[in-house]
């Protein structure tokens, strides 16, 4: 039995606002085994972004437990969380979030800085990763000189540069056209199949979710569906 990459039990998240406590996630239990490709869907306000932020150790749960790679995330210091984000998780954002003034190889090498790796080694690894996403020859370009699809590839290369166990993607194709979206999803598929990287992504498009094996559907902060992706897509959005 392989151990779970993600194991969540009875997780709740409340936001405290001026108007009072707003519950966002209710009692979610969820586990992801190594090598799984999970898509998370749900309407706006269903709490999927909050869910993703908690998975990504950017936010902490109000109650319940979260084990990432068998480590209890709920009891980690800020520095320990940063370390987890750096070494265990690769994060891909909807808006790419590249540093505009750094060139592509510096962008990809950025996570390695916080591991104390030497500059030459950083750049070598960054170049390898850029080649892997098909942008090797653009390593000196700046983010504003390349297309959105290419920027997202750079962001994926950056997420992969530390060889994470888990790749989290928050609407990675949200800012891209259909054609480019397919290319990005093909890349995710390849990373999952060939390199065995565990992937959890958020999307609101069924054909993007169709690339995954498993679908988790959230509504009003609860898991309303958790199962194979094919059935859910066939059954339509209401399932």
């Amino acid at each position: 039995m392989t151990k779970a990459v993600i194991k969540i039990e009875r997780l709740c998240k409340d936001y405290i606002t001026d108007a009072g406590t707003v519950p966002v996630l209710h009692d979610i239990s969820f586990a992801v085994a190594p090598g799984e490709f999970v898509a998370t869907m749900g309407p706006s306000g269903s709490g999927k972004s909050t869910f993703m932020n908690i998975l990504g150790c950017l936010d902490v749960a109000t109650s319940g437990s979260y084990f990432l790679n068998d480590r209890d995330v709920g009891h980690q210091s800020r520095d320990e969380l940063a370390r987890l984000r750096n070494e265990v998780i690769g994060f891909v954002f909807q808006g790419f979030n590249l540093l505009p003034r750094a060139n592509l190889e510096d962008n990809v090498a950025l996570p390695l800085i916080y591991r104390g790796i030497s500059r030459s080694e950083r750049l070598a690894q960054a170049k390898t990763m850029l080649e892997k996403v098909g942008l090797g020859k653009y390593h000196r370009s700046h983010p504003n000189q390349i297309s959105g699809g290419q920027q997202q590839r750079v962001a994926i290369a950056r997420a992969l540069v530390n060889h994470p166990k888990l790749l989290l993607a928050d609407e990675p194709t949200g800012n891209l056209d259909t054609h480019t979206s397919r290319e990005i999803m093909a890349l995710f598929n390849e990373l999952n199949k060939r390199d065995g990287i565990t992937i959890v992504l958020i999307t609101h498009e069924p054909d993007i979710a169709a690339y995954a094996q498993r679908l988790v559907r959230l509504a009003d902060g609860r898991v309303v569906y958790d199962g194979p992706v094919e059935q859910a897509i066939q059954a339509g959005p209401a399932a």
Binding site: A82, R83, L98, A102, L110, Y114, R115, R119, R158, N162
Partner: protein, 406 residues
């Protein structure tokens, strides 16, 4: 790690060149002002100290005549009551290093086609010791010249130049009031006194010669003033007291009567002048420090703007694994780089400016290593101090909030 952070900081500063340079400018001006002001202040102090040193150290001047005499008050030097014998008696007092009776007057000097009017002081060889005055050439006159009242003279630099030009005056004969005097030596240059007189515009002759042959006092053997030097600064109060007692005794002044002489402590007066310039130089430094402080606040201001502007970048960095202290270090390094480079340029400008001011105005400027080091340390400290708060603010951000920032 540190190196990587340095290059990250450098990159951010390079991306905002103009802003970085303007921020730096605050620092540059602050440091340059501090160094320049310290240089001018210390220069003024040095100038005063040099004048004091040129006057001689631990000095008393004893003036004849009384300032308060019965019902009528006379100015100092009004009646000639001091004598060479008084001076000789003072020399016997404990803690007195040297005593020089002085009889000054004005006379016309002639050498060849040149003539010059100057102050001629009749005195003894110990005058040179009291005033800490060396000869630049020749020999001083001796006790035997005093006894024999020989016509010999020591020329000050200004006098030598006016009478002889570039020639060597030693062993030449000049005429003072139409009598021939042999020039024994030339005094070393002393420059201006504290009150701005040219100390080199003077001629020294034996006191006896001055009294008997040159000025011819109607009170034989009297001198205008006596200069006395105490052995040390600590012994000055005691020496002053014993001089007073000795002279009262020698002049037969009864209990309750006013002195017919005045003892003045020249060194104390000089020290007051020194203290004044010290306060002035401290004030200049303090004013300049304010500009350094303003420069520091400028750094803080820009760093705060920069942190707000780069909130998203901070969020990205945190999302990919930057710890709070990594962010802190990055922003702190930016502040430190700005202040250190600014300080470096400021030091160059300040030192250059100080010498330029010195060259253009003829003021004495003193640039000390300690003032440079102090300015450097203070500036780096200002950078850390004012960079700390914005950097800390950046490091305390919550990653999701920073990422959401538009």
């Amino acid at each position: 790690m540190m190196l990587a952070m340095l290059s990250e900081a450098w990159m951010a500063m390079w991306a905002n060149r103009l802003r970085t340079i303007l921020t730096m400018l605050g620092m540059v001006i602050g440091v340059a002002a501090v160094i320049l002001m310290l240089a001018v202040g210390q220069g003024a102090q040095q100038q005063v100290q040099d004048s004091i040193a040129s006057m001689g150290s631990n000095l008393f001047i004893i003036l004849s005549g009384s300032t308060t005499s019965g019902g009528m008050r006379m100015g100092g030097g009004a009646s000639p009551t001091l004598t060479v014998e008084d001076a000789q008696a003072m020399e016997e007092l404990p803690l007195v290093a040297a005593v020089a009776p002085s009889s000054p007057g004005t006379a016309q000097l002639v050498y060849g086609p040149n003539n010059w009017s100057t102050q001629v002081i009749g005195t003894t060889p110990s005058y040179l010791a009291v005033r800490d005055w060396r000869l630049s050439s020749g020999m001083p006159f001796t006790e035997s010249d005093i006894r024999a009242a020989t016509r010999v003279a020591l020329l000050g630099q200004t006098v030598a130049q006016n009478l002889f030009g570039d020639d060597n005056p030693v062993n030449k004969t000049i005429r003072i009031k139409n009598s021939p005097y042999l020039v024994l030596g030339v005094l070393a240059p002393k420059g201006q006194s504290l009150d701005g007189r040219d100390q080199d515009d003077t001629v020294l002759v034996p006191v006896t010669t001055a009294q008997r042959k040159l000025f011819g006092s109607q009170f034989a053997g009297t001198v205008r003033f006596i200069m006395a030097q105490a052995e040390s600064a600590d012994s000055m109060p005691q020496v002053e007291k014993s001089i007073n007692e000795l002279l009262r005794q020698r002049h037969r002044i009864r209990e309750g009567m006013d002195n017919d002489f005045t003892v003045r402590n020249l060194t104390a007066m000089a020290n007051t002048a020194a203290d004044t310039t010290k306060i002035m130089s401290l004030m200049l430094g303090a004013i300049a420090s304010i500009s350094l402080l303003v420069g520091g606040i400028g750094i803080m201001n820009i760093m705060l703007v920069s942190v707000t502007e780069r909130t998203r970048e901070i969020g990205i960095r945190m999302a990919i694994g930057a710890r709070g202290k990594d962010i802190l270090l990055q922003f702190l390094l930016e502040a430190i780089i700005i202040s250190v480079i600014g300080c470096f340029i400021g030091v160059l400008l300040g030192v250059g400016g100080a010498y330029a001011v010195g060259g253009m105005t003829g003021m004495t400027v003193v640039v000390t290593i300690s003032s440079i080091v102090t300015a450097f340390i203070v500036a780096a400290g200002v950078g850390i101090f004012f960079g700390w708060y914005p950097a800390r603010k950046a490091s305390m951000m919550r990653p999701i909030e920073a990422l959401r920032f538009q």
